[in-house]
């Protein structure tokens, strides 16, 4: 069953009571969260999803936020922080840990179908073997669950392993298969192969910063991979460890990212903090009903985005794009900024 079914009005009606209940659940169970809501005077009632109090996502780097007792913590997920920053820590109990891969699978089923496909990974096997697993390694490892008969496009030294890819295509190239890689890896390496990948379904993520530096936008990315590799089924996705299991998935036509039925985005004007109208960029707030063991159900990201349209695309609901990352706040002052960041 697809998780891209609800039109915006119906989604709002489903999500609001669930998110309100989560807000109250976390308020009861997570003392730091309760203190924040008390300090900002967030009491409800909440008439719309956009009225719910949000947490800045960076708080998961600076604070331990969980709504289950320590003894019930089943897994602690960490993000790799940028240099000098502490990583995010996300606390999952058994139930939340079980829900997240299930909902991720349900989301990806919309483009991969119900069966586990052979999988080509645009990376090197060494990224998943490194004992200090990088964010990239963790991402690859997480996605590997969705495929079988894995082959890696790069050899252990990071060089192109065309032989391995040819072998994979000889075995699986006649029917649909999954290709996964970080956006800049897919761009850098798939075109180099010079092989026909027309049966592949490319799922990619990780952001556009490095490609933007080369003036490669999503349209160019899709067109060139289509022309040079025969890839027609390409899906970007947007997600973060602080809302593990929730991904916003690009529709088949490349017209934007869509929200699964259990999640949504609110684009906020960073001056008024009100929801920005369609077409007006702002900060992306992500909401999801998956975070039950930590107060991550309504998060303000530091990413900029824009809603292109509502209920006007290939799937129902909001259709949006991520435009980039907010720069780090900088100040003048007597001391060197690096020292404050560490403080």
């Amino acid at each position: 069953m697809s998780v891209f079914t609800l039109a915006q009005g119906a989604k709002e009606a489903v999500l609001l009571p669930e998110l309100v209940a989560l807000t109250e659940r976390h308020r009861r169970a997570c003392l730091p969260y309760r203190r924040i809501l008390d300090a900002i005077g967030a009491v409800g009632p909440y008439g719309r999803v956009a009225d719910l109090p949000w947490l800045p996502v960076r708080l998961f780097k600076t604070h331990e936020l969980r709504s289950v007792p320590e003894s019930a913590v089943f897994r602690v997920l960490t993000s790799s922080g940028t240099t000098g920053q502490r990583p995010s820590r996300v606390y999952l109990d058994r139930e939340a840990a079980a829900a997240q891969p299930r909902m991720l699978a349900a989301t990806l089923r919309a483009v991969l179908g119900g069966r586990r496909l052979p999988m080509l990974i645009v990376d090197s096997r060494s990224v998943v073997r490194d004992p200090t697993l990088s964010a990239r390694g963790a991402g690859v490892l997480g996605m590997m669950n969705f495929g079988r008969d894995h082959a890696f496009v790069l050899d252990e030294g990071g060089g192109l392993d065309a032989e391995a890819v040819r072998g994979f295509l000889a075995r699986h190239g006649g029917a649909p298969y999954l290709i996964f890689g970080f956006t800049f890896m897919a761009w850098s390496h798939l075109r180099e192969l010079g092989l026909d990948l027309s049966q592949g379904v490319l799922i990619h993520s990780g952001g556009w910063k490095r490609l933007a530096e080369q003036a490669v936008d999503n349209a160019t990315f899709r067109r060139r991979l289509g022309e040079e590799c025969g890839l027609r089924r390409i899906h970007d996705f947007y997600g973060m460890v602080e809302q593990i299991g929730t991904v916003f998935l690009e529709g088949p036509d490349g017209g934007g990212l869509y929200c699964p039925d259990f999640a949504d985005v609110v684009i906020r004007d960073p001056e008024t903090w009100q929801e920005a109208p369609v077409g007006v960029p702002g900060l992306i707030e992500v909401v999801s009903t998956l975070p039950t063991s930590y107060p991550g159900h309504v998060l303000l990201t530091e990413d900029l985005g824009v809603v292109h349209g509502v209920d006007d695309g290939v799937w129902p609901g909001k259709r949006f794009s991520v435009l980039g990352r907010l720069p780090k706040a900088e100040a003048r002052g007597c001391s060197d900024t690096a020292a404050w960041a560490a403080a």
């Binding site: 300090a39 800045p56 600076t62 002052g333 007597c334």
Partner: protein, 392 residues
Amino acid sequence: MAVGTLVGQVREGEPLAVGDERIRGFIAEFGRRLLSPELARRHPELASLGFFLRPSELARILDGPRGDHLRAPRGLVFHVPPANVDTVFVYSWALSALMGNRNVVRLSPRAGAVAATITRTLQESLADADPVVAATQRIVTYDRSDAVTAALSAACDLRVIWGGDATVDEIRRHPLAPHARDLTFPDRTSFAVLRAAAWLSASAATRGAVADGFANDAYWFDQAACSSPRTVYWVGSPADCDTARDGFTACLARAVAQRGWSVDAAMAVEKRVATYGLAADGRASAIDFHGNALASVTLAGPEAAPRRWLGTGTFAHARIEGLGELAGLVERRDQTMTHFGFVPAELELLAGALGGRGVDRMVPIGSALSFHRVWDGVELTTEFTRLVTVIA
């Protein structure tokens, strides 16, 4: 140019005296140029710098204590100013030069537009000055190079390190000559204290002026200057303090809006992260935003005062019973206490109770950023000279 050649050139040539006329003339001329309407319009902070360097002020600085001692320059002074306060290096260098020292200033390649303007103005002024000035006063820019820092450290008679704890620790790895010493300016934080009753009985004009001065103190360097106030202590009864704090915040919001101080989206998010974090820790009982430019935090108690930077325009308020309570709250790194509503005797009493354990400056609200030759508890002109005892 090799660093050895530079040091040689700076050391060469005629001796300089404390208050050397050639240097005084040069500094006054440089200050005059900084006061030009065109520069002051683009970079208003240059005007206060130019004002500090005017001839009458220079004369006052030189008019220090005299007696059985002659003041002599220390020799070669190596200055390491912070990367992101563009004007600090001038105060440090100018006072040192005025005291007859030869100076090498390490200007960070990350220094901003204001520093570039200052350097250009300095070069223009040098062209008209006595050649001894150009030879003995040098600004160098190099990216973190241990070799250059080590050579300048070994060669200098006094090393002046601004820029915080990390910079001080890093530069200190390089040994000085046995007779030489460091003058360090580590990380400092500052606060304001107001008597609630005085605020409540003040005229609207006074309140406006205090709020405006406070905004200047805080917003000029993104509230990140060592002397910018972060915590605001209110002295008085709970009811008075609550009323005064709300009135003060409203006045401050108006002053900030009038001055056009604003913060960008990244800073707005930074402030949310910082203030929500205080609440999560149980240190803030209320957070109020007046637009993105002004955030007002009510602390759970005065001991919860945060020292770290919370983003531009974030003020943590706490109530205390009396000024003397600060004696138990102040830390070594507290530098400037800006105040309103206290008489000198009360301030002196507090200073006595603190006994040098913190707070090096008590100045009225609005004067936090006014540089003085006495800074961070030391008199710079004294630090920049040696005393020669002459008893006939």
